[in-house]
Amino acid sequence: MLHDLRELYQAVILDHAAHPRNQGKLATATSDQLVHNPSCGDTIHLYLQVIQGRIAAIEFTGSGCTISQASASLLTTVIKGKTMQEALTLADHFSALAMGQAAPKAGLGDAVILTQVMQFPTRIKCATISWWALKQAILTEQEEEA
């Protein structure tokens, strides 16, 4: 009965939650986005440094459950170095997959494991919240540029 759970909470996920990558308050950030999940108190604050349309650096701070923290950590590893457009596409793909819809998995790396969260409808938001923050941050960045 814990089979589905094992698919979600794989070793790499537990590792990212316990030892988050790119944690910090990026001093050189060109935009940032704070999101909050009122239903559980999870918080993710994402910091992006965009240079010539490319996400040159990315960090996050926050607190919350395994899923939300691992998701943010994985996001940073996947997104670093991508163009804003690539990042937006990946964010859309991740969210779609996490909600059980069809979408390409290419480019998501280990983050794709977290799309198993679709088996746990009440936890989907934990996985998608940081990707949503990413999208908001990029849209803000683009608006400011325009």
Partner: protein, 400 residues
């Protein structure tokens, strides 16, 4: 139509069979709706939102599906549908949030003389508090809204139009779309009381272009304690909360708080989950029978009643057709309460009084009326028994 779905119709009043002609007060509950409630209690019942557990998730889904169903039916977005405790609660919400924010000294509220107290009083009292003014749309001699006069009431001071779509005394449908246009033309919003309209008319809030639309579940085969407020998305976003409490917050500290997005901001505390499920079940039940069929059925009965009542010497009918759901009348020489008591002895349940619409009843030149109202479960026999009851009352009180 489907009388057998309504167990209460088989009971007796004293030694008489029941003729229920008071659906405008509260409609009866059909067994299929009760069965949905029963099944929900037996399988998915739990508190909604904020739970990672399966039961909470299922209950939340059912609750939100109910919201979506109401939204589709009204032609609204589900982020425009607030569940309330009833129509009165819905109407108070608008005055307490939008009203308090926008109504100031010198402003004007255009309100029809037909309003139910639940529609009139929130604005009357707010106007008294802030020094705003109520301007009443009066009746024509035929008992309809005087549109000529109404048109003159809208001006730069008008902030709100408060209007019932169907009068709970006269049964007439008011031209909501037309009046809302006049309101919008001067920058006012239109707050529509749909309590008596939703059971008897196709309501499309988008087409009416009203800003708020309110109704109660219990007049529509659903349980008591559940109501709906439709509000235009852009307006809802700008409104402050109505009540404060659990589930309507984003974040709370000792000193301050921020609010949840969307309609949750207006649903403080545990909502009436079972009421929302019941409302959805009632809509499903009515849709299955077919709204058109129901409306036509009601129309035929009311038309018939109107004709036969008008033919009784001494009967005064109020308003003029077409009527939706209700018909009001008086019998010369017999006070409405005395008439209602005789009818009750004969098993015919009507309502007598001012029907929570005192200003209208006074405008009609009386203190109270007898009101008969019909819904899908009424039939020709019910009409026959009302007519024959009135004749009995005439004999009883020796009026000719």
């Amino acid at each position: 139509m489907r009388r057998s779905d309504f167990p209460e119709l088989t009971r007796r009043i004293g030694d008489q069979p029941l003729t229920y002609l008071d659906s405008a007060a509260t409609s009866l509950m059909p067994t299929p709706v009760l069965k949905v409630l029963q099944a929900f209690y037996a399988t998915n019942y739990a508190n909604v939102h904020r739970s990672v557990s399966t039961l909470g998730y299922e209950a939340t889904n059912r609750y939100e599906e109910a919201r979506q169903q109401v939204a589709r039916w009204l032609h609204a977005g589900s982020d425009e549908i607030i569940f309330t405790a009833g129509c009165t609660d819905s109407l108070n919400l608008v005055a307490a949030t939008w009203g308090r924010q926008h109504l100031h000294a010198g402003d004007e509220v255009v309100v029809s003389i037909m309003e139910h107290h639940s529609s009139l009083l929130p604005w009357q009292q707010l106007a008294l508090q802030v020094g705003a003014k109520l301007r009443f749309i009066q009746l024509t001699p035929a008992g309809t809204l005087d549109l000529e006069q109404a048109r003159t009431l809208f001006n730069a001071h008008t902030k709100v139009l408060v209007l019932t779509q169907v009068s709970n005394v006269l049964g007439c449908e008011n031209p909501v779309g037309q009046l809302a246009k006049w309101a919008h033309a001067v920058g006012a919003i239109a707050v529509i009381d749909g309590a008596q309209a939703v059971p008897h008319l196709a309501v499309n809030v988008a087409a009416l272009d009203c800003d708020f639309y309110a109704f109660s579940g219990h007049k529509l085969l659903a349980p008591t304690g559940i109501g709906v407020l439709y509000g235009k998305r852009v307006l809802l976003q700008q409104l402050p909360p109505y009540r404060y409490g659990g589930e309507m917050i984003a974040d709370v500290s000792c000193e301050t708080a921020s609010w949840a997005d969307g309609v949750q901001k207006f649903e403080a505390g545990t909502p009436n989950i079972i009421g929302a499920i019941g409302l959805a079940a009632a809509l499903t039940y009515l849709t299955k029978i077919g709204w058109q069929r129901i409306w036509q059925h009601d129309q035929v009965l009311l038309q018939d009643l109107a004709t036969r009542l008008a033919a009784i010497p001494g009967v005064t009918l109020y308003g003029s057709g077409p009527r939706y759901g209700v018909i009001s009348f008086n019998l010369a020489g017999v006070h409405p309460h005395d008439l209602a008591t005789v009818l009750d002895q004969l098993g015919v349940e009507v309502r007598a009084g001012h029907h929570c619409a005192e200003p209208l009843v006074h405008a009609l030149g009386t203190e109270s009326t007898v009101r008969a109202s019909v819904f899908l479960y009424n039939d020709q026999t019910d009409c026959d028994r009302l007519i024959s009851g009135i004749k009995t009352a005439k004999e009883f009180f020796h009026v000719t």
